[in-house]
Amino acid sequence: MKLQLKIWRQVDRNSAGKLESYQLDNVNHHMSFLEMLDTLNEQLITNKERPVEFDHDCREGICGQCGVMINGIAHGPLKNTTTCQLHMREFKDGETILIEPFHGAGFPVKKDLKVDRSAFDRIISSGGFVSVNTGQAPEANSLPVSHETAEQAFDSAACIGCGACVATCKNGSAALFTSAKITQLALLPQSEKERKTRVIDMVNQMDKEGFGHCSNTEACEVECPQGISVLNIARMNYEYNRANFFKHKK
């Protein structure tokens, strides 16, 4: 199949970018979307042009490194699917595809389709962990966790950190990402001691990174490759209110 591509090209962080058009004639409909981009790059390199930089690594939907806006939709037309798992059979012959990087105040563009998502690392760093050193752990079965709780915690923990939630949010909010980690840890007994400080620290860090407010439009859940529920956000709100209500005087 043949495709018309319009791709965001930007030289570096400080430059302005723009859309450029490319023609691709030999696309196989079994190709993954990223393999289609590989093919384009092969063509560009052979023509001595600068290839398109894009984020990708595992190409099996778990590392969270890939992710672009495809025709204005995070990770493209399929719901709950990463860009690498999207295949060209979802597109029509002769179609024009517009490809832009995820971006927003919290996600500056580094080059072409590559985006700086280190804000997510800093959010985790501010409190998204259990303070247990290597060697301090008690016997694993000494703290039973019900099957349902473990499964719920897993549902929240499944986040791959791709940033589609931020990209698809009309407010550029990182609430889904942040709340998924807060919820996972709030559910588990082993991190009860840090429950209050964690939520406050993580919410403050999320704000510092310049992300917007969550207005519960629920779009993030639809585009999230792992289908993380928006109820995690409600849980974060609960944890936040609880932490403030029962705050210790300093």
Partner: protein, 216 residues
């Protein structure tokens, strides 16, 4: 103040206003009575509201809520506009409901409506010249009936109530979750409640001008 705190303020003021709407609605159902009964009851009710000092306190809280809700709405929207990405091609809307994305626009419509609404009745009642009914109360009922002879005003009220309904459906669902209700079962109940509540109240309010327009 961080994003969550601002949203909590929005939710708290919004839900308080929702609750007020119910009271307002119940009081106003008197407009559907026979004209004589309606006039008597409605005017007496208005007088009670304006003279009771407890209600007065609540009404200041109400004004404050409206102002805070509007101001924080603007602050939040501003910050969101700075935070969001702008895309040359944007079909992000396929994943959410239009009204959940349009709370600012709907809110602005409601605010404009409120100004007109206050001017029509509240201002008239407080500062305008209003005649007395046979029982010696200010005849607000007469003002209402007179106003709704204007078909344009009726249309404006109906449209505003549609905007309000959508604003409320999302507002209640969102506000409750912002305050921290996360259990899937209760969230589902709240979602259903929000739809019923919004439709009942807004339809009721919209029917008032229509009823008066066609019956008098």
């Amino acid at each position: 103040m961080n994003t969550l705190a601002r949203k909590i303020l929005m939710a708290a003021t919004g839900l308080f206003l929702c609750f007020f709407l119910l009271i307002h609605f119940l009081g106003n159902t008197q407009l559907f009575l026979e004209p004589e009964h309606a006039q008597k009851g409605f005017n007496a009710y208005s007088k009670f509201l304006s003279n009771n000092f407890l209600i007065k306190g609540v009404s200041y809280l109400l004004y404050l809520s409206i102002i805070a809700h509007a101001i924080y709405g603007i602050i939040i929207t501003n910050k969101n506009n700075k935070a969001k990405g702008s895309y040359k091609s944007d079909h992000r809307g396929r994943a959410s409901k239009w009204y959940s994305r349009s709370m600012g626009v709907l809110g602005t419509l409601i605010l404009i409506f409120l100004v007109i609404h206050f001017q029509n009745f509240w201002y008239q009642y407080k500062f305008g010249e209003v005649g007395l009914d046979p029982y010696g109360n200010k005849d607000l009922y007469g003002v209402v009936v007179a106003s709704f002879q204007n078909s344009w005003l009726v249309v404006l009220y109906v449209i505003s109530m549609i905007a309000l309904a959508y604003h409320l459906i999302h507002g209640i669902q969102s506000g409750i979750r912002t305050l921290g209700l996360f259990h899937p079962k209760f969230v589902r109940w709240v979602n259903v409640f929000a739809v019923i509540y919004s439709i009942v109240i807004c339809t009721g309010f919209a029917l008032m001008p229509i009823y008066i327009y066609f019956t008098t």
